[in-house]
């Protein structure tokens, strides 16, 4: 449980509500985010299962589902418009309400003060407010399934005119309005959290914890927060304009001459491309907001299970920054088929190719970190290696999509779906799970079950490759994304069995995650007790008690003497030195 064993009577809140519900303790807030993310993952995952059900057996009757969705699955058969809201909400929930919640809200809040040696975040009250803004945002998104017309159906990208004309499809009515509202509240919540992360990392570090001594998780969280803070506001601006187009008759995104039914819409002069630019100005950096913290988690886990420092520490750090900066100027590679000038397209293609360089450096450094190490294949390590594998495979697909020439063929096919699931679906999921297995003992003072963990890993890895690897090839074959039914197309007939296989693999992948949930909740209360540093890791959080008390450090804050990856030291008897260990002979260390 989250109880703090020895708590300062002055500061520790008493009473269930102040302690666990409206808590300002960063550890509790992190846990709240993590649990919320797990719940949202269940919902968003179930939506994916429904989609695969339809794609494997199109038009099949599922009487049981008719009871849950009396409208979208009337008579047990899925309606096309319901399928559209499934893809929209699966994407939206997974990107913003699962991965962002878990990696930034969950790990960010739990780890930042512990890894930098602070007692709490810089603004604890704002932190609580951030979580309690995220909750209504989630509820609004979930509620949108039950309004007239169903949930939003314009895709997670919400391109106009589907998103801007209320008459367009059923989901363009209330569902879309709630989508915009939910996103606006989510962005407010993210902004509060992001400000808190940036200020805390800059200002609340303990004595000796220089910026270069911060572990990679903190660096990536810092970069991701800064990136999110700068990239989300333009989407807010875009959403405000969208709201006015929808409800107040303006024409930012809508051109003249649009008919719906027999009705001519009063709009004139707008362009949907404006939305696409503004959306992807957020949308592309958002990929890295999610991806970088997952890489940071992997980079922090590797040394503990290889017993050597990560390879190319500084180069990795510079590469992370390079990716962040470049990610702000490559959004156009999502829009090669929008009719943009080939010269502009070439600019975006070159920028995108430039991102492959720092990405390759990071990937190579991660592989080199394994080289010559004393590998310990515990579950966190397995998931970390899995994430490296997916980063490589997914990155390879990115090269094809980043080039305008090949992207024009691949655009809006399952190649894209396969690619981005490897990156923001796979690397993030594996990084996230690696992190949960790794920090679970710090969170709850108990270990997750190792055997279940290994089963979970292997089924997830094989399942993941089975689902998304094949998608690249049916995408090359021209199978378009977002279609409700492929049986009507002669040229897609050869892929019928592949689609069936992908669906079955997806069900297995989904079921494996239920095993993880079982392990999580069972181990929370019944798992083997863990001591404060079960992995013999060097980073600062392992010097706190497991679970840490309310003020994290007891009476005195820790003082940091070295960088976070001091493993296999030649002069030491132990094979690692925690960051708080003073150097032998009073040598005051360099930045390391």
């Amino acid at each position: 449980m989250l109880t703090a064993p020895e708590i300062d009577p002055v500061h520790a809140p008493t009473g269930f509500i102040r302690r666990y519900i409206f808590s300002t303790d960063h550890k509790v807030i992190g846990m709240q985010y993590l649990l919320t993310a797990m719940f949202m993952a269940l919902v968003a995952g179930a939506l994916a299962m429904l989609m695969r059900l339809q794609l494997a057996w199109p038009g099949q009757k599922w009487p049981l589902l008719a009871r849950i969705f009396p409208d979208g699955m009337a008579g047990g058969v899925m309606k096309p418009e319901f399928y559209l809201s499934l893809i929209t909400m699966h994407g939206t929930l997974m990107v913003f309400f699962v991965i962002s919640f878990a990696l930034l809200g969950g790990f960010g809040n739990f780890l930042i003060p512990l890894q930098i040696g602070a007692r709490d975040m810089a603004y604890p009250f704002l932190n609580m407010l951030s979580y309690w803004t995220a909750v209504p945002a989630s509820l609004i998104m979930l509620a949108s399934f039950f309004v007239e017309g169903g949930a939003a159906s314009a895709g997670w990208t919400s391109y106009p005119p589907l998103s801007a004309v209320r008459e367009a499809v059923p989901g363009s009515q209330w569902g879309q309005t709630l989508w915009i509202l939910g996103m606006a509240i989510f962005i407010a919540s993210f902004t509060m959290g992001g400000l808190n992360f940036v200020v805390t990392i800059l200002n609340e570090r303990t004595k000796g914890m220089t910026m270069m001594r911060l572990p990679m998780t903190i660096w990536t969280l810092f970069i991701a927060s800064a990136l999110g803070l700068l990239a989300f506001p333009p989407l807010t601006a875009a959403a405000i304009l969208l709201l006015f187009d929808r409800h107040f008759g303006t024409s930012f995104y809508l051109p003249a001459g649009m008919f719906f039914g027999n009705k001519l819409l009063p709009h004139a002069g707008g362009t949907p491309l404006l939305w696409q630019h503004l959306f992807w100005f957020l949308g592309h950096p958002e990929v890295y907001v999610l991806l970088l913290p997952a890489l940071g988690v992997v980079l922090d886990i590797l040394p503990a299970f290889t017993r050597k420092p990560i390879f190319g520490h500084r180069m990795t750090m510079y590469s992370l920054w390079t990716i962040a900066v470049l990610s702000m100027i490559v959004w156009g590679h999502h829009m090669y088929v929008s009719g943009m000038s080939p010269y502009v397209g070439e600019f975006f293609a070159i920028g995108t190719m430039a991102i492959t360089l720092p990405s390759a450096i990071i990937g190579m450094n991660m592989i080199a970190s394994l080289w010559g190490g004393t590998l310990r294949f515990r579950t966190p390590m397995l998931f970390a290696i899995g994430a490296i594998s997916l980063f490589g495979t997914g990155g390879l697909g990115g090269i094809f999509l980043g080039n305008a020439t090949s992207d024009i063929h691949l655009h809006d096919t399952y190649f894209v779906v396969g690619h981005f699931h490897y990156m923001i679906g796979g690397v993030t999921l594996f990084g996230l799970l690696a992190g949960v297995y790794y920090w679970f003992p710090k969170m709850f003072g108990r270990m997750l079950n190792e055997s279940w963990g290994k089963v979970h890993f292997w089924v997830t890895l094989v399942g993941f490759y089975s689902v998304f690897f094949g998608m690249h090839f049916i995408g090359l074959g021209g199978q378009p994304r977002r279609y409700y039914d492929f049986t009507k197309f002669e040229f897609l007939k050869p892929f019928t069995e592949m689609n069936l296989f992908i669906s079955i693999a997806a069900f297995v992948l989904g079921a494996a995650q239920l095993l993880f949930l079982l392990n999580f909740f069972w181990s929370w209360f019944r798992g083997t007790k863990a001591d404060s540093n079960p992995w013999q890791a060097a980073t600062l959080e392992w010097s706190a008690a497991s679970p840490p008390p309310h003020d994290n450090w007891g009476e005195k804050l820790p003082v940091v003497h070295r960088w976070p990856y001091d493993y296999s030291l030649p002069e030491a008897t132990e094979d690692y030195a925690p960051q708080i260990a003073a150097p032998a002979g009073g040598r005051s260390g360099s930045w390391r």
Partner: protein, 190 residues
């Protein structure tokens, strides 16, 4: 802005705390202002794109905007005066100038509503054409941020001895003043 008020519990560990170059609240404020700047950068790019289409018809400049601009500049100057007085340990006089700044800010906001009414009288409404749409929306969003600033100045009036808070709110207020000048130029001059 609650972010200004909540302090970290750090009783008893000052001996091992290094002091950062910039105060927490100042770093937080500037990070927040960066997000506001990016919000209006998003709007700006929308204006630049939309302005090139043939249906863009410039609306006449509502005359009251000149007066509003002067009011907002005067309000910022009053706040600077308050800041100087607070620095000289003269909180009572500083409070008077904060009150003046808040009143001028309120007059500015009323003047913005007046500008809307001037346009309405000419038959120019929100959906009339893209220029008017942007004018109404951008002044509205700017006004909403300024309203938040007014609450901040109200807080300063209740708690006149908080010199640090005065500095923060003055920074926020000046930023919004500069933002207004920028919007004015973007919408009507260039």
């Amino acid at each position: 802005m609650a972010l200004m008020q909540e302090e970290v519990i750090r009783a008893g560990d000052s001996e091992s705390q290094w002091s950062p170059a910039l105060d927490n609240r100042l770093v937080g404020l500037w990070a927040f202002l960066a997000t506001v700047a990016m919000l209006f950068a998003g709007f700006t790019s929308a204006v630049l794109v939309r302005r090139t289409s043939p249906d863009w018809q410039p609306i006449p400049l509502p005359g009251i905007l000149w007066m509003n601009t002067i009011l907002l500049i005067a309000s910022s100057m009053a706040l600077e005066r308050a800041r100087a007085l607070a620095g000289q340990e003269r909180p009572r006089e500083a409070r008077g100038w904060v009150l003046a700044a808040a009143l001028l800010g309120f007059l500015f906001l009323s003047g913005q509503v007046g500008a809307w009414q001037q346009l309405r009288a000419l038959g120019i409404f929100l959906p009339s054409n893209p220029h008017s749409s942007f004018f109404y929306i951008l002044t509205g969003v700017h006004g909403a941020h300024l309203l938040g600033g007014l609450f901040g100045l109200g807080y300063l009036l209740v708690r006149p001895r908080r010199a640090a808070a005065l500095n923060l709110w003055a920074t926020y207020w000046h930023f919004l003043g500069g933002l207004w000048l920028y919007l004015f130029v973007m919408l009507f001059v260039v």
